[in-house]
Amino acid sequence: MAIEAQSVTKRFGDFTAVDGVSISVPTGSLTALLGPSGSGKSTLLRVISGLEQPDLGRVVIEGSDVTGLPPQRRGIGFVFQHYAAFKHMSVHKNVAFGLEIRRRPRSEIEARVEELLELVQLSGLAKRYPAQLSGGQRQRMALARALAVEPTVLLLDEPFGALDARVRKELRAWLRRLHDEVHVTTMFVTHDQEEAMEIADQIVLMNQGRVEQTGSARDLYERPANKFVMSFIGPVSHFGEELVRPHDIDVRREPNGSAERATVERVVHLGFEVRADLALDDGREVWVQMTRDEAADLDLQQGSKVFIAKQ
C-alpha cells in the first residue's frame, strides 16, 4: 500500500472533522476522496500531507510511519484548489522550485523543467508569470511543480474546483491520461461524484468525518452500503418506502402482477435520456428514467396511464 491512514482523528475545537478514519491506497492507483462539503475529505488529505497534524492515529506512506514528519520530509506532491502559484516567479521558476531547494545541478533542472512543461503542455509559456495564465494553465503548472520532485504520492485538493465546467471536464480527462503515463500513486479530493466516477480506480466516500464506503465506481453505484451512498453516488427515486434508481423502475402500458397504476405528469427529453414525473393513484410521486427508444415504444405523453414496478 502506498498510503495508509490508520484511525485518524482530527478535531478543530469542538468540531470533529475526521473521526477515526482508516483507508488504504494501493501503489500506482488513482483514488478519489469523495464527499459533500464538511465531510472531512480535505482535512484527511491535509493530514496525509503533513500540513495538518492528526489528534489521533497514524499515517504510513510506502511502509514508513510519517505521522511525526513535516510535509518537507514525506516525499509528497501537493496541488491546491487555488493553485498556490508563486506569483513573483515565472512558470519555469515555479516548476524548478523543488529542484532548486534540493540543489540539483543546473543542467538537470533545465532538462527536467523542460520535460515537465512538455508533459503539462505549457512548453511555450515558461517565461510567463502566473497572472498571465488562465486557471487551467495555472493548475497544470502547479501539477508540473508538484511532479518535479518525483513524489512517492501525489495529493490534489479539489484540483478542478476553481475552474469553469468545460475546462474542468477537459482537465480531468487529461489528469487520467497523465496518471496512466506517470503512474504515481495519486489521491484527489472532490465533491463531484461524476468526476470521481469518471477517473478514479478507487473511491473513498466520506460523510461527517467518517468513511461510508470504499470501492470502485461500479461497486458504489450497484452495491451501495447504505442510503447515503446510494443517494450521493447517483440519481434516486423514492418508490414507497424504498430508494430506487430511477432507471430500475419498470414502466409498462398494461397491468402486470403487483405493478401500481400511475399517471404521467411531465416528460422531459434530454437527448438519449428521457425523464418522466409520475403520480401514483394514492398521490405519491415517483420519477423514472429511460432511454429515448423505450419512451417512444411506450408512447409516453403527459396524461398517459402507466403501470410501474421495481425491477
Partner: protein, 262 residues
C-alpha cells in the same frame, strides 16, 4: 454641472495640498537659497552642521535596519503565529504613534539617567548617542510592522504551504516565497521609518542634552541655529534634512518596477 463640481473638487484638493504642504516647504527652500547657493553651502558645511549630519545619519543607519528586521519578525509573529498576549503585542506596537515623543524622551531619562533602573551601564546612554539611537528606534518602530501586517494577511498561507510540500524549510520559504511577496510593503515601511528617524525631534531633544558638536542631530541643529537668529543656517540645514527624506522616497519609487502593484 458635473464638470463644475469636478473642477471645484480639484481646486479644493490642490489648494489644501498647496497651503499645507507645498507652500511651507517651498518657502524654506526659497529662503535657504535667497542669498545664493554659496551662502547655503557655507551654512551646512560648518563643523557643527557637518557633525549634526553625521549624528543623524548614524542614528538612522542603526535604527532603520534594526526596526526593519524587528518589524518583519513581529509582523510574521502577529499574522502567522498564535501565542499568549498576541493582542497585547499588537496594541503595544502602536504605542509610539500614540505617545508624544517628549514623553518617550523623559521615560528614557528616568530609565537610564542618574538613579534610574538601568543607571550604571558601562557606557553612557543619556546625553550620548546610544540614548538618541534608542529613542529614535522607539518612535520609528511601528511603521514596518503596520505596512507588512496587512500584506501578509492578504497573501495568505497557501504559497508558504506549497513551498513546504516542495521541501523548503522555514528560512528557505521566507527567503524565496514570503519575502518577495512582502518586499514592497517592507520598502514602504523602510521609507516611513527613515523619514521618521531623520525627522525625530522631541524625544531626542530630551535625551541628548543637545551638546553642540557632540549630541546634536540635524533637527536639533536647525532649532539651535534658529534660536541663535542664524536664519540662513536654519533654512539651509532644513533643506538638507528635507532633501535626505525626499531622496529616500525617490530611491524607492525608482527601484520599484512600474508594472508591479503593491
Amino acid at each position: 454641472m458635473t464638470r463644475l463640481r469636478r473642477y471645484l473638487l480639484r481646486v479644493v484638493g490642490l489648494s489644501y495640498l498647496g497651503v499645507l504642504l507645498v507652500a511651507p516647504v517651498g518657502l524654506v527652500f526659497y529662503r535657504a537659497f535667497e542669498n545664493g547657493f554659496g551662502q547655503a553651502w557655507d551654512a551646512v558645511t560648518t563643523p557643527a552642521a557637518k557633525h549634526a549630519l553625521l549624528v543623524t545619519i548614524i542614528i538612522a543607519a542603526i535604527a532603520v535596519p534594526a526596526n526593519t528586521i524587528f518589524g518583519i519578525v513581529c509582523a510574521i509573529a502577529i499574522v502567522r503565529h498564535r501565542f499568549p498576549g498576541k493582542n497585547l503585542v499588537n496594541v503595544i506596537v502602536d504605542l509610539p504613534l500614540a505617545l508624544s515623543p517628549v514623553i518617550v524622551g523623559l521615560a528614557f531619562l528616568l530609565l537610564f539617567g542618574t538613579g534610574g533602573w538601568l543607571d550604571g551601564l558601562p557606557f553612557d546612554v543619556v546625553f550620548a548617542l546610544p540614548g538618541m539611537v534608542l529613542a529614535t528606534m522607539f518612535v520609528s518602530l511601528p511603521f514596518v510592522v503596520r505596512e507588512v501586517v496587512p500584506v501578509l494577511r492578504e497573501i495568505g498561507t497557501e504559497q508558504e504551504q506549497a513551498a513546504a510540500t516542495l521541501g523548503a524549510g522555514g528560512w528557505q520559504t521566507f527567503r524565496r516565497v514570503t519575502f518577495p511577496a512582502i518586499r514592497w510593503a517592507v520598502a514602504y515601511g523602510v521609507v516611513l521609518t527613515t523619514a521618521r528617524a531623520l525627522g525625530e525631534f522631541g524625544a531626542i531633544s530630551v535625551v541628548s542634552g543637545r551638546l553642540i558638536g557632540k549630541t546634536e542631530s540635524l533637527t536639533l541643529h536647525v532649532e539651535e541655529r534658529y534660536q541663535s537668529f542664524d536664519y540662513a543656517g536654519a533654512y539651509a540645514a532644513s533643506v538638507l534634512l528635507a532633501m535626505l527624506a525626499i531622496a529616500t522616497l525617490v530611491a524607492m519609487t525608482v527601484s520599484r518596477p512600474k508594472d508591479e502593484v503593491r
